[in-house]
């Protein structure tokens, strides 16, 4: 029996999304840009999906754009807002813990002004505010960090950005579907596969007051050249409706995250549980184990039936560890990143907590690092 604890950015497909996806293959397979009955039927499904996203995000339907995916949303959002303000400047202000796609897009679009974070991963708000000024093209602040779960002070940041007349991009890819993201944004990106949608679509909301100048060859839909997958959009909207309807307060996963944070610190020697202990997402938790090879740890857990993520360098294709852990100044090796899926049970979490100490000891022992 498998236990999936790596739902960040790619949760198991929600049953409602699966059903909606299959129905949309039957009814919405046609190209929604064509004017015949089949095309119009697909168009209706797509428009209904956008309405659902708009309602959930507190936006107008016309403000919601669909993209090929979350990375594409972030790339396009940074590029199009920065280009529209090139007479003001090309500086993009962002904390060091933004998603890699945002940092790369900022560097491609102009001058990335990177602001530090504290040990918990929370942006240095004073430095961020000081950097967002007259020559800033775009201000960026994620709603919460998907690697460590720490929530960011978006309300304070947005108040400053509004006063400075600089648009604020909020990456809410780890938050939407899990917590209320509020209205403190000018551009907001949400990630359907993160809440149980089907991969192949992203959601980008751009307030009507924000000027954008799409980059790239001309296309009927500059946010998704060639159009988006209608079934994926329909599935993402259906999943969002379902998870918002099912959402309980408090999220039962918050208690499980608190339990993981407490038990891991108590039962695994030389471990660092990272991220803000209180101001955090209800389903994400991360810790690093001293003297542990992250790849070996993931493999050992996988063999015991547990799928988890990691920000350690040896689990990535590059030699570089997670830039988020590095910016926080916490241990990058031996890292375990957990994002609890919606239907996780307390028994599954307890089973994971029961095997973890012996697995860590085993991996440490294999390199002769026990007792150091």
């Amino acid at each position: 029996m498998r236990t999936y604890l790596d739902a960040g950015g790619r949760a198991p497909v929600h049953p409602v999304a699966r059903e909606a996806f299959l129905a949309a293959l039957d009814d919405g397979w046609a190209d929604p840009r064509r004017v015949h009955a089949e095309g119009r039927r697909a168009r209706l499904l797509l428009d209904a999906a956008r309405e659902t996203f708009a309602e959930a995000l507190g936006a107008r339907t016309a403000e919601v754009h669909l993209t090929p995916g979350h990375t594409a949303s972030l790339h396009a959002a940074v590029a199009a807002t920065t280009r529209a303000r090139r007479r003001v400047g090309t500086r993009v202000v962002l904390p060091a813990v933004e998603r890699a796609a945002v940092i790369a897009a900022a560097r491609a679009a102009g001058e990335a002004v990177v602001v530090g974070v504290d040990r918990a991963g929370r942006v240095d708000l004073d430095a961020w505010r000081a950097a967002v000024g007259a020559t800033t093209a775009l201000a960026v602040l994620q709603h919460a960090n998907g690697e460590v779960g720490t929530r960011q002070p978006v309300a304070e940041a947005h108040a400053h950005a509004l006063a400075a007349r600089v648009p604020l991009l909020v990456d809410a890819g780890a938050s939407v579907g899990h917590v209320d993201v509020g209205a403190d944004w000018d551009v907001l990106a949400a990630d359907p596969p993160d809440w149980g949608g089907v991969p192949g679509v992203g959601v980008l909301a751009v307030r009507a007051r924000v000027r954008t100048a799409p980059v790239g060859p001309e296309d009927e839909d500059p946010w998704a050249p060639g159009g988006v997958s209608v079934p994926a959009a329909v599935a993402g909207a259906a999943a969002l409706r379902a998870v918002l309807a099912e959402r309980a307060a408090p999220d039962p996963r918050a208690a499980l995250v608190a339990r993981i944070r407490e038990r891991v610190a108590a039962t695994v020697p030389d471990v660092e549980v990272v991220g803000d202990p209180d101001h955090r997402l209800p389903h994400v938790v991360t810790f690093s184990c001293l003297y542990v090879d992250g790849e070996a740890l993931l493999g050992a857990l996988d063999r015991r039936g547990f799928a988890v993520g990691s920000g350690s360098a040896c689990t990535s294709s590059s030699l570089e560890p997670s830039h988020v852990l590095a910016a926080m100044g916490v241990l990058t090796h031996g890292n375990v990143r957990i994002a609890l899926p919606r239907n996780v049970t307390a028994e599954q979490v307890d089973a994971f907590l029961a095997v973890l100490p012996e697995v860590v000891a085993e991996v440490r022992g294999a390199v002769g690092a026990g007792g150091l």
Binding site: A96, V114, G116, D270, E272, S288, L290, Y291, V292, D293, G294, S312, A313, C314, L319, E320, P321, L325, A326, A327, G329, V330, L331, T332, H333, G334, V367, G368, A369, L372
Partner: protein, 102 residues
């Protein structure tokens, strides 16, 4: 974010910085440099300075994190001159000095 701390300037293996033991962890991937350093620290006297040579990018973050968790103090991190040409297969090498908890 991840800049070297302390004075920056090349230091040779025979140069002025290292005092006490030197751990050569060049070419080793995480978490091996920290494990080697911890082994040396275990055998060294309290308050001693241990120097570690490393090339793995993760060591830049993990040596200070280890020192913080153990109560040691990172004195500085400086570029390390390769002792001989042709040893640079693992990219630039660095030397980090750690003063052990007393």
């Amino acid at each position: 974010m991840s800049g070297a701390s302390g004075p920056v300037g090349p230091v040779g293996p025979e140069g002025p910085a290292p005092s006490g033991e030197v751990v050569d962890a060049r070419g080793l991937r995480c978490p091996a440099p920290v494990i080697r350093l911890a082994r040396a620290a275990k055998d060294a006297a309290p308050g001693a300075v241990v120097t570690v040579w490393w090339t793995d990018p993760a060591a830049r973050h993990d040596i200070p994190a280890w020192a913080r968790m153990r109560g040691h103090e990172v004195l500085d991190t400086v570029p390390l001159e390769e002792p001989a040409a042709g040893d640079a297969a693992h990219g630039p090498a660095w030397a980090t000095r750690v003063r052990l908890a007393g």
